[in-house]
């Protein structure tokens, strides 16, 4: 008998699994000593693209929450601030990573004339800040995550249509 996830809309499933993949990808990419430079750089570039898509998929939330910020007791203020900080630091992390790339960009035939003592430490600094912000970003949505996970786990058999 076929099994389907109980009452989880397709868009919610997409958000859940896409975000889970981004989290795992980020964890692996941050662990430079685990991946080595080649995987680290390609994964970092992929994460940059994935994060742009993530932001796009949640753009409605960004607009809605930004408008509500003006209200004195508007919801999600803390989440909005954390997300803004994460957007800032993650973008700078990916940018600096691309600019100091030693494998991925040269392999694509791109050589950026970037030298100097700025981008390396910026990459390290922003990576460390994002390691603090990413789990906070995830944890502030723990009720949504737990709710969707519970519904995804609670599978029910698909009843057969009457003939």
């Amino acid at each position: 008998m076929p099994i389907v996830s109980a009452s989880v809309p397709a868009r919610t499933r997409l958000d859940f699994w896409f975000d889970a993949v981004i989290l795992v990808g980020y964890t692996v990419a941050y662990s430079y000593g685990f991946t080595g430079v080649v995987i680290h750089e390609w994964l970092g570039i992929a994460l940059g693209i994935a994060l742009l898509l993530h932001l796009t998929l949640h753009w409605d939330w960004v607009v809605r929450t930004t408008i509500r910020l003006l209200r004195p007791r508007g919801p999600d203020k803390l989440i909005w601030l954390v997300n803004l900080a994460l957007l800032f630091f993650m973008t700078l992390c990916v940018l600096s990573g691309i600019l100091i790339s030693r494998v991925a960009l040269p392999e694509l035939g791109i050589r950026l004339p970037v030298e100097g003592p700025f981008w390396d430490p910026l990459h390290t600094l922003t990576a460390e800040v994002t390691l603090g912000l990413v789990p906070v970003h995830v944890a502030l949505r723990w009720r949504w995550i737990a709710g969707v996970a519970r519904r995804l786990v609670a599978r029910r058999p698909l009843s057969r249509r009457p003939q």
């Binding site: 989290l23 964890t27 692996v28 941050y30 662990s31 430079y32 000593g33 685990f34 991946t35 080595g36 430079v37 080649v38 995987i39 742009l52 898509l53 932001l55 796009t56 998929l57 753009w59 409605d60 957007l87 800032f88 973008t91 700078l92 940018l95 600096s96 100091i100 030693r102 494998v103 040269p106 100097g116 003592p117 700025f118 981008w119 390396d120 430490p121 910026l122 600094l125 390691l131 603090g132 990413v134 789990p135 906070v136 995830v138 944890a139 502030l140 723990w142």
Partner: protein, 125 residues
């Protein structure tokens, strides 16, 4: 169409941050106090990359656990896929996962505590 509009808006925000970063690097390149060399961990060792022009003093040896490499593509330490599962490399991944799990657990506990207190302080109808 709606997706493309949102993608354009998101890309515009990201571009703005990129421009801020580039401007920061242009205006205050020394503000982060970097040395120019690259430091990274490979197979549990700290590897310090030397700029291509730098010459270590004759006979100089790096401290134990430190490996000096010359800048340039040939010096890039690269792991084979099989190396990823070496315990010393896996430990790096576990460390990252532990940090994330610890922060998530702490935030969830604090958030749950706040919600509980807020519920308790509400006047019962």
């Amino acid at each position: 169409m709606r997706f493309l509009r949102q993608l354009a808006a998101a890309a515009a925000v990201v571009t703005a941050v990129v421009l801020i970063g580039l401007a920061w690097g242009h205006v205050a390149p020394g503000s982060l106090g970097g040395s120019g060399g690259r430091q990274f961990t490979v197979r549990g060792r700290v590897v310090k990359g030397l700029p291509a022009s730098a010459q270590p003093p004759p006979g100089a040896k790096p401290p134990p656990g430190i490996e000096l490499t010359r800048g340039g593509p040939s010096s890039i330490p690269s792991l084979q896929l099989g190396d990823l599962l070496q315990p010393v490399n896996l430990a790096v991944l576990w460390k990252t996962a532990w940090i994330e799990a610890a922060v998530i657990a702490a935030v969830v506990l604090v958030d749950a505590g706040f919600r509980k207190r807020r519920r308790a302080s509400r006047p019962s109808r």
